[in-house]
Amino acid sequence: MERKDNQTPQGEIARILVEFLEVAITSVVSLKGIYPSGAFERRKYMNVVVQRARHPQLREYIHSAVSGLFNFIQKGLVERVAVIFYNADNIPIERFIFKLTVNQSFGSNVEEVDLEFSLRSFLIKLSVSQTLTTVLPRDCRWEITAYFRALPQISASKDAEMWIPTDTKQWQQPPLITPIKSMNSEPLGLQLYLEHPNSSELLSG
């Protein structure tokens, strides 16, 4: 009753997904070692050990960014959520992509337990994927970017105002994709994969 507007399956999925993304993104950031390891503390989520940011601002950034997506995810507007790492020249080096498919016509109740089972495997797989990723150079920065299926209406909700249009630099050539984990259940499809610039691009750039 407390979350009345989440009563739809989509709302429920969005809620679970937002929570998951917050954890997963934190895990990605911690995995990449962009901050000293002391910036994270071990926590338990979905019964696996995950990292949680200790710095309030970092935590707040991830939290507000992801929870700002809640309404859009619920409506199925968000296609991908990317965690992008840039080098000092602002050129993306590596992108972690979460590709979402929320079944908008899914009618029955969502079993959080079932979803959790699948989502947990993402966290586990992520924690052992370090070898797939590139080593970051010094002076990196990172950001969370969301790709929408359609541009959302302005000021549809307060949370959403946190999100601004971006003109992230794109790679000239199609990137190399390395899948990390995929799940496809009735209410929710989620894929996590890495994008790296094509080797030729690295030479030219």
């Binding site: 984990k181 995929s182 496809n184």
Partner: protein, 1132 residues
């Protein structure tokens, strides 16, 4: 004090924190060799802690804990020796008891510790099987319930009340009655479930009795100077006394009459009386009360008590008029809160909704779900009727006084002409004098000296409201109750009738039944209907034609629109907008900019007569609360606390009445402004500051004690002088359904199984409906009636269980479900029940069950034969359908067909001889697998001939017979074909037109189509892959098949050139199919597959070639879907 000192010690321990020490404070929650009880940190944190202790003086974690536990014990002993009552003569209460507190308890673990200190018990901070004798907790998570033994090590798990009660009784009570409910009721027996319990009913009666006595005594305690009818008063008093005595006698065996009730005998003069009519009503209500308290009556449903209580609390108010000078403030009246709400009209309206919901639970909820989807779209046509009683509160009171009809009459709780009581409702003649609701009686009398002021008659209001809704529900099944005297009807379904005619019929009927008039508005939506009613009033009706809407709205002042109040109207007025016509000139955007998105949209819509609400959308209430801002004057702190307690009781009752529990509690206080004098309104709140504090607790509650504790805390946080308090309100929000939280354990019970079964076995209904015919509906209906109420009762009882006697309405309405009718029972399941269960169920159904089963058996023997009663599977359902659509001969056919489908894998095994290569045939399997609905194939082309061939002669003949006549020729056509099946037809065709034809179908079915296809092909490499399918662990994913292939050492190759290309082609096609299938959802699987394929390609020429064929296709697909290429280096 001792408590504090121990805390501070711990704190100082923590505060010396280096990195090590902060870990140490964490480790309080960790155990090594200690048993873990409900701590979030598991074993994985252990390693970390160990390493951090390497530098500490303790050799390992265990020794640290040992030292720590010892230290805590010493502390405890020291404190105990200081604080325990040193009655060395008697043994302390808790001698030998050692408790461990698990989780959140009331009182808190620290308070419990204090009790143990004071009364000679022990308190363990850490669980140990050897030291702890009792585990104290209020609630256990499900996981611990399930593993109770490992959790408690067999020790008793007891509620904290045990300690409190033991202290109160000053001796150690047996813990058994205090065992945690979750454990005690772990396995309720069936009979306990279905037999009605008389105990809760008695309890209900008991509370009723208390309620009855209180109002009585109240009445008698009232002081008032005005004895207008002194003569009657004596008589009345006598009667009242008699009544009271009777009540006392009746209740004396059950109830303890509290202090004030005795006072009536000492000061009987103070009784204050009105007219004889009220006296009569008073009697009525009393008689009523007595009726209600009869156990038989109350056993009908526990939830009704709640409302009976309300009624009782409402009714005596009608006989009290005129504020007593002293007692009507918190100062003089110990039961002020109760009386306050008893006399409150707003309270009546507020609680009425619950009553309504309980009266019409199915009606108010039932059809909301099934509401037409086209309503919103075609709302232009939907006729809506809005019905509103004319000045309800007055006309109900004066309907028995025809002489008053033309006179100005108002309803108010006091008729003191100089009073500052507010008029709550006035009739039309009175309104002509300018009298409005909310006016002081004093001012109203000034405007119209002959104004007659009557008191409320809540009893009558309730009766009329019920009649009103009975009539509405009789005429229309889509009714949305707005309030006790106002409702919307959606008459879309009643297209045959003219809504205007219907409205006048309803109004006439209402007048005849209740003696009060009602007005009606008819329009295309709820907004317009409501506006139409305001035009129609009084006692009229008005129809606004859809085309006339603009005309009607144009000159309408904006304040007439619902949702536009003073503030909004004022703002709009500043913009020079006073009518809807003017409002329409403003664009939606600028409205939304000025007033916010929602309000702006509402204004825009309403000014155009647009209203998309559907009739029947009942809003769940978001909060429940009670507020008193009249007559609040506190003498001292104690007094204020007492008032808060009463308020909590009221709120708790309301929560229970609504069947909800809340988590957030807000205490509002009206504080007199510093410079404000005594308010104009007698005992009113005057000029006040509004303050509020709120808090949220983790567990929703409606318990008075918890409410009280929280309220006390909140009250304390105000730091306010009690003399300045002019009003107090307590509001509970974040509501949760009480029955959800309470009934969770019951979910797994047999009853819920029966419920869900009746739903899930709906399909089975077809079969059983025949049985129903045999048995006869009426007898069944009868037995059901009886039982449903029993069950209902039992369920309500369960929902109430664990709290005090009042029940929750929601629980009742949600639990309306009962034992499913016999015809809904899945006989197959029933038959396979253990005999004890069966006999118990049989009792519930009054013996009908066994009867039915025997009949069923007989019938089964007689009927055509092969119907089976296995729990419903789609396939079996199809049997029934088929059976219904065809005559009984076809049963065997469809039945066998179903068998075929079910046994497909087996049949496939049978068919290892390559006897069915024909493409259409294998397709038939897959389509049949997908759509089970229509199992008798319309043409033989859909029949798998290979299956047909396997059938015995007679069965095959049956099938042919069952087919439609014009299909018979196909059989003969098929006949020769079956001989030709040795041709690898399918593969040839696929060969000729690659990529099309079978494109997506290869992965359909179980096993997928391709397996069959590959197996029957004469190419060794393909056969080899098909074999892999059966070897793989999870054959539905290609990756595991490839994994299996990789493990195989020998990879057979096709020698001939033709066969080689053919095999490569087929396999490539399979892969492309797979890519197509998975590209959108699972690139991980594709990635794994191609990594494996790449490794295979180093081993086998065949896979190398396939890889090279498919790889470009793969990358193209990935690029198309993901804008990139898969990170697999091309093979070179």
């Amino acid at each position: 004090m001792s408590l504090d000192s121990s805390n501070s010690k711990q704190r100082s321990f923590n505060s010396t924190s280096s990195n090590n020490q902060s870990n140490a404070s964490n480790s309080k929650k960790r155990k090594s060799n200690q048993k873990t009880l409900g701590m979030a940190w598991g074993a994985n944190s252990l390693s970390g802690s160990r390493s951090s202790f390497r530098s500490s003086p303790f050799s390992d974690f265990g020794s640290y804990m040992a030292v720590k536990t010892r230290k805590l014990q010493n502390q405890f002993d020291a404190e105990a020796s200081n604080s325990s009552r040193s009655d060395s003569s008697t043994k302390p209460i808790f001698d030998g008891v050692s408790i461990f507190v698990d989780g959140f308890t009331i009182p808190s673990s620290q308070e419990l510790r204090q009790y143990m200190l004071n009364y000679g018990g022990r308190f363990e901070n850490y669980f140990s099987r050897h030291r702890v004798s009792h585990i104290i907790c209020s609630n256990l998570p499900d996981s611990k319930i399930k593993n109770l033994r490992s959790f408690s090590s067999g020790l008793p798990v007891v509620k904290p009340m045990w300690i409190l009660d033991s202290v109160a009784a000053n001796k150690l009570l047996s813990w058994v009655p205090y065992q945690l409910d979750q454990l005690a009721n772990n396995q309720p027996t069936l009979s306990a479930f279905f037999t009605p319990k008389s105990k809760p009913a008695d309890e209900g009666a008991f509370t009723n009795a208390i309620c009855e006595v209180k109002p009585e005594t109240e009445l008698l305690c009232l002081k008032d100077a005005s004895f207008s009818e002194a003569g009657n008063s004596f008589e009345w008093r006598k009667q009242a006394t008699e009544e009271h005595n009777k009540l006392m006698c009746e209740n004396s065996n059950k109830t303890v009459i509290d202090g004030p009730s005795n006072s009536y005998s000492e000061e009987p003069k103070e009784v204050e009386v009105v007219g004889p009519s009220n006296l009569q009503e008073g009697d009525e209500s009393l008689a009523n009360n007595r009726l209600q308290s009869c156990p038989e009556q109350s056993s009908a449903s526990v939830s009704s008590h709640c409302f009976d209580n309300h009624r009782i609390r409402g009714s005596p108010g009608s006989s009290v008029i005129g504020p007593s000078k002293q007692r009507h403030s918190t100062l003089g009246d110990p039961n002020f809160v109760e009386n306050y709400f008893r006399n409150s009209r707003l309270h009546f309206i507020g609680t009425w909704r619950n009553r309504y919901r309980n009266r019409f639970p199915s009606l108010s909820n039932g059809w909301t779900k099934s509401s037409h989807s086209d309503v919103s779209a075609g709302s232009q046509k939907t006729p809506i009727i809005h019905i509103d009683m004319d000045c309800f509160f007055v006309s109900v009171v004066i309907r028995r006084h025809p002489e008053l009809i033309d006179k100005p009459v108002a309803v108010c709780h006091s008729d003191n002409p100089k009073g500052t009581a507010e008029i709550s409702s006035a009739n039309y003649p009175a309104r002509d004098y300018g009298i409005k609701a909310g006016m002081f009686v004093r001012d109203a009398k000034g405007l119209c000296p002959q104004l007659v002021i009557l008191p409320y008659n809540f009893e009558a209001y309730e009766k009329v409201a019920d009649q009103f809704y009975n009539i509405l529900h009789k005429h229309c099944n889509r009714v949305q109750a707005v309030s006790c005297d106002e409702a919307f009807l959606d008459v879309t379904d009643l297209e045959g009738k003219d809504p205007q005619f219907l409205a006048s019929a309803i109004r006439k009927e209402i007048y005849e039944a209740t003696g009060c008039s009602a007005s009606a508005g008819i329009a295309k939506n709820m907004l317009m209907a409501r506006l139409a009613t305001s035009t129609a009033k009084p006692n009229g009706q008005c129809y606004i034609h859809p085309e006339k809407v603009d005309e009607y709205l144009g000159p309408l002042p904006i304040k007439a629109l619902p949702g536009i109040g003073h503030v909004l109207a004022e703002k709009l007025k500043n913009k020079n907008v006073q009518t809807c016509g003017q409002l329409r000139l403003i664009s939606k955007d600028s409205l939304q900019k000025d007033f916010g998105i929602k309000t702006g949209e509402m204004l825009w819509n309403y000014s155009r007569g647009v209203d998309n609400r559907l009739v029947g959308m009942i809003q769940e209430s978001k909060s429940v609360g009670a507020e008193v801002n009249w007559g609040v004057r506190f003498r001292d702190f104690q007094h204020a606390q007492h008032f808060l307690l009463d308020l909590c009781k009221e709120v708790s009752l309301r929560l229970q009445g609504c069947g909800v529990q809340g988590r957030t509690f807000t205490l509002k206080i009206k504080k007199r402004r510093k410079d404000a004098g005594e308010p104009a309104k007698f005992m009113g709140c005057g000029d006040c500051e509004n303050l509020s504090h709120s808090t949220t607790v983790p567990l929703a509650t409606d318990d008075v004690e918890v409410l009280q504790r929280i309220t006390k805390q909140l009250f304390g946080s105000f730091h306010i002088d009690f003399k300045d308090i002019r009003g107090v309100g307590l509001q509970v929000s974040r509501l949760e359904n009480a029955d959800i939280s309470r009934q969770a354990p019951e979910r797994n019970s047999l009853k819920s199984w029966l419920m869900s079964d009746s739903a899930s076995s709906k399909e089975q209904f077809d079969i059983n409906s025949r049985a129903k015919e045999c048995i006869g509906t009426d007898s069944e209906g009868k037995s059901m009636d009886g039982n449903s109420s029993l069950l209902h009762n039992a369920s309500v009882e369960n929902s109430v269980h664990g709290t005090n006697n009042a029940s929750n309405g929601e629980g009742c309405s949600n639990q309306n479900s009962s034992v499913p009718p016999l015809c809904h029972l899945d006989i197959g399941v029933v038959e396979s029940l253990p005999s004890e269960l069966l006999s118990e169920l049989n009792e519930i159904y009054g013996g009908k069950l066994v009867e039915m089963i025997t009949k069923r058996k007989l019938q089964g023997d007689n009927s055509a034969g092969s119907l089976c009663f296995i729990p419903p599977e789609p396939a079996q359902v199809a049997v029934v359908e088929a059976e219904r659509s065809h005559n009984s001969d076809s049963v065997s056919l469809s039945r066998s067909a179903v068998e075929m489908k079910d046994e497909q894998p087996i049949l496939e095994e049978l068919r290892t001889v390559p006897d069915s290569g024909a493409r259409p045939i294998s397709v038939a399997i897959s389509t049949a697998g997908l759509e089970n609905n229509d199992l008798v194939p319309s043409s033989l082309s859909q029949v798998d001939t290979s299956v047909l061939q396997q059938l015995p002669e007679e069965l095959r003949a049956d099938i042919f017979e069952a087919l439609p006549a014009h299909r018979i020729q196909e059989i003969s056509a098929l006949g020769p074909k079956t001989d030709n099946v040795h041709h690898p037809l399918g593969i040839e065709s696929a060969d000729n037109q690659p990529g099309s034809g079978l494109s997506n179908n290869l992965w359909i079915g179980n096993p997928p189509l391709w397996v069959e296809k590959f197996k029957v092909s004469n190419l060794t490499s393909l056969k080899f892959i098909a074999d892999m399918y059966y070897k793989a662990n999870s054959p539905e994913s290609l990756s595991s098949i490839l994994q299996c292939t990789l493990a195989e050492s020998l990879h057979p190759l096709d020698a001939t050139c033709d066969a080689w290309t053919e095999a490569i082609h087929s396999f490539s096609e399979l892969l492309m199919n797979y890519i197509k299938l998975k590209i959108g959802v699972d690139i991980e699987e594709i990635y794994v597959c191609f990594r494996l394929l790449r490794r295979l390609s180093t081993k086998s020429e065949f896979f190398l070639e396939v890889y090279d064929v498919v790889f470009p296709h793969l990358q193209a697909s990935i690029d198309e879907n993901y804008g990139g290429t898969l990170n697999i280096p091309p093979h070179n």
